[in-house]
Symmetry: C2
Subunit: 567 residues, 2 copies
């Protein structure tokens, strides 16, 4: 994991979790940032309104800020509800001290009144916020009513009913001291024509049309992607260098807007902490917030919260697995590739098919072979069929080479073709030892089990991508490695059931437990795990891999059934 940026919010709580530090912490988490939070006031609140407020003493607010800033390398900050004049001053002064020696972007969300109309900042605190906090702020993010309140407080024109007045208001707010102002336009409907007109009239005004039709996408518009050009909302970003950026988006009809301002300012703090420009941070943070409203689930009886987790998915294997186990379906196993568990995918594959995997690697064939009591006909039938199988197996690696993009995997797969050819010489020598000529071996008809398995490999290779083919090749590579190691380990026990010296099949056991083959197993494991870590599968894709693995495990078992049955 890379080190996450630490972001600090200084704000009130929302017991219902949709706004305040709760929304901030969720937003930080959804941006994969680390969240710290200082509480200025507690609210007993839900989606229908604010039932009660409990202010926190300014000295305790200061102590919280110091506890965080003295210990944690905070890379971005935001303020929300500051509650009263003393707390506002205490926050501003403590931050000013810190920012004297630390460059940290600060987003000030000038929370004054809740969506439900509850006063969240005492009127006398507004001046303190303007005088002491705005000058520290990288960005101030008022909505319409907050902007009107702030402007009227300074006897500036405070009517904001259209885009032109939004622009004027944002420019006036900029004179109050912050480095930039983002005036949120969620409550004012604007048409595309108005935006074009305003842009045309002033070269300092740029428009970021992320949420609107782009050039050369007629096919998407015809297919109904975009809503009408006439019901847009626009956020206006004004920077101290005089540049203005407009962010038009389709207006959403939704009541899931509780905590919109908290969420936006929290997302801005995350983006700014990563060094994004104000223009880019605003593009990303407004997009995140817009989608949070658009994808919100219904929670509570009033104005519900945004969906803060629309940006997230649970990881599948690796590093995360959701594995239907034989014993208990639908279990979830968490496993990330770590030093302690470097093979999460392979482990999940084996674990999820552990019944059939055990029937394969501890097959009667293997046990009798280990005891040295396996019928010679069975072994010879197996070795002849395995000889045919190895041709498919070599062809499948050649196919893998032909499907690969760069020399490293092309050569690795090609090397394996040679390895398989060498492996087949063991088969020839077993046959020779027991009087079967090379010609007889070559002319032995293929059993259905051999054709099924071999052709399945080739078919899988032709159907899917290289990783799917790697999955198909794994059951054989890993399973024989497992059998070799198991027999060798068992042979090492005192009074073991495995007969090692003098076993007619000793060479077979030596080959698969030997260094050469086990090295190939390790390389195979690393290939599987590193490819999966670099290109983590969706759940659907993981299931596809698992399906191929399971199928091959069954075909392996079938192969030894065939040997036992001489079928």
């Amino acid at each position: 994991m890379q080190q996450p940026e630490a972001i600090l919010t200084i704000a009130g709580t929302d017991s219902s979790g949709g706004a305040g530090i709760q929304a901030d912490l969720k937003t930080f988490t959804a941006h994969l940032c680390y969240g710290a939070s200082v509480v200025t006031a507690l609210t007993a609140q839900n989606t229908t309104g604010v039932q009660d407020v409990h202010g926190v003493p300014p000295g305790f607010v200061v102590q919280q800020i110091r506890s965080v800033l003295s210990d944690i390398n905070v890379r971005g900050m935001k303020t929300g509800m500051l509650f009263d004049n003393d707390n506002t001053r205490a926050v501003a002064q403590t931050l000013k001290q810190h920012m004297g020696s630390h460059q940290v972007p600060l987003v000030c969300d000038p929370v004054c009144v809740s969506t439900s109309g509850h006063v969240l900042l005492h009127p006398d605190a507004i001046d303190t916020m303007i005088d002491e906090l705005f000058p520290l702020s990288t960005l101030v993010t008022p909505n319409r009513s907050e902007a009107e309140l702030l402007l009227s407080r300074r006897n500036l024109p405070a009517q904001i009913n259209n885009l032109e007045e939004m622009l004027a208001a944002a420019r006036n707010l900029l004179t109050l001291g912050p480095a930039a102002v983002l005036l949120k336009g969620g409550h004012i409907t604007v048409s595309s024509a108005e935006i074009d007109q305003l842009s045309a009239s002033d070269a300092t005004i740029h428009t970021v049309r992320d949420g609107l039709p782009s050039e050369n996408m007629e096919i998407l518009q015809t297919a109904g992607t975009f809503t009408s050009d006439d019901v847009l909302v626009v956020d206006v970003l004004c920077q101290s260098d005089g540049t203005v950026t407009l962010y038009p988006r389709p207006r959403l009809e939704s009541t899931s807007t509780h905590g919109t301002g908290c969420t936006l300012s929290a997302a801005l703090a995350c983006q700014l902490s990563r060094g994004e420009s104000l223009v880019e941070a605003t593009r990303l943070a407004t997009a995140y917030t817009h989608l949070g409203i658009e994808t919100a689930a219904s929670i509570g009886k009033g104005h519900g919260p945004l969906n803060h987790i629309h940006s997230l998915s649970l990881l599948n294997i690796p590093p995360y697995v959701i594995v239907p186990l034989d014993a208990a379906p639908d279990l979830t196993i968490y496993s990330r590739r770590t030093a302690g568990n470097p093979h999460p995918l392979t482990r999940a594959l084996i674990h999820s098919t552990r019944g059939i995997w055990k029937e394969y690697v501890q097959h009667d064939f293997v046990i009798l072979l280990g005891k040295g009591t396996l019928q010679r006909e069975s072994f010879l039938h197996f070795i002849k069929q395995d000889y045919h199988y190895l041709k498919y197996y070599a062809r499948a690696y050649a196919l893998l080479a032909s499907k690969s993009h760069s020399f490293e995997p092309i050569l690795a797969a090609t090397e394996t073709v040679f390895h398989i050819a060498r492996e087949s010489s063991m088969h020839k020598s077993f046959c020779a030892q027991w009087g079967i000529t090379a010609e007889e071996l070559e002319n032995t008809p293929e059993s259905p089990a051999t054709t099924a398995y071999g052709a399945f490999l080739i078919d899988t290779g032709l159907q899917g991508d290289t990783m799917k083919l790697v999955m198909a090749l794994a059951a054989c590579l890993l399973g024989y490695g497992e059998v070799g190691l198991w027999l060798k380990k068992e042979a090492g026990q005192r009074g073991s059931w495995v007969k090692w010296e003098g076993n007619p099949y000793l060479k077979w056991m030596e080959d698969y437990s030997g260094e050469d083959y086990q090295k190939a197993v390790k390389v195979g494991l690393e290939t599987i795990e590193s490819r999966a870590a670099a290109d983590p599968p969706s759940l659907a894709r993981f299931e596809e891999w698992r399906g191929v693995w399971e199928r091959c495990t069954r075909l392996e078992k079938g192969f030894w059934d065939m040997a036992m049955n001489l079928s």
Copy 2:
């Protein structure tokens, strides 16, 4: 989005974000649950210790709980630091009332003392917690020192130094009233032999060995997956039916343990809210917590927080995109498939290649064709080469059919082969109209641009999976649709530069802007978007798709260059 489970935590805050309601909210979010939180006390705290505590009045605690529970359908609850006797009683009584009419699992984390030694629960509150909160609890989750404190309070044997004493302690704690006890063993080292011995002695004891070697995984152990059997830690789950479950894991050497208890109990509440059994919820929650410690980044100067987000990844397209734009590399576009934006992947593909895409769909060839002034030789050269190209294109769809798994995509691709054959008859009739015989058409040598594009389609189809082939087929399908729509739209403008009636290439424009072709475009768009939504790509895979799309867009442009140059 499915409706997330709402989980409530009732606990103290941790300003530094690693423990308390902050850890709880992060854990809820990491489980894709919706978090609400009631604050019982504020702490000014960081990784080095607790600097100050500010208790919240019991009446305000009750009001917060009521605000949440009266509005939000809470599916799981946990309690953490309750601070003092009044708050403990207030919480217990308010929850008791609610739980009289609502079945909600409650996890009680009996927080008494911080990792750094700070008292977080007044001693007189401990009895209240036992008497009033334990009987309501689905599960109580003490660590060793909390268990010792609780037991000594009731004059029960309170020495916990080994596995046997852990088991006895857990059973004794169960007599205090909760439905189950999870005694956390992070501070006690246990060997595998002790676990086996204990399990063998008592049939009610089961072991979940998630974090330890399983059967038939010799290959993974040899490759160094697992640590020694002798430095394990064990969590012990005791249920009221008498069953005991042990969860052994390798002991982690880490100082990133601040908030471990909060995190575990929060994760338990999430799992229980989804109806997981206690055994399974404990397996998942302990695994989540273990991995949080193992993958923690270094934050703060003391005992740092766990990594709460190890379970998460940011979504790629769709629903999330990280697109390197021509204009500004490394921009992130958030776009989830929603009613307002049903084609996020296609949009991202076009947007990310918008320069070359425009050169393709607004090629001079297209503009001159629209004007009706395109040289007949250029058009004829194009139409003859396109005829050859369509054979590759038909073969690529046949290849797509051959790589598909079920009849629906097999038949859809096969239908398209017929469509392409019909499309090619337009080419024949253009040729016939201008005196080129069918034989001459068929014998026209392929231009390199045709071979490059056609062979690239087939090669891509052979290299990758079906989605990669779909990507390769998209630039032609969608681009010609875009050209057709654009010309038709432009033709509809007053005084248009496009000559519609009387244009020698009218049939070509009619065909690609017509209903039949545009329907194919819509089907293609739906295929692309629905497949990507069902199997969201990793970033690596998305980049692979984008690479194929961009390559084909360039080959399309090259195709019209060829027509203009008669090359």
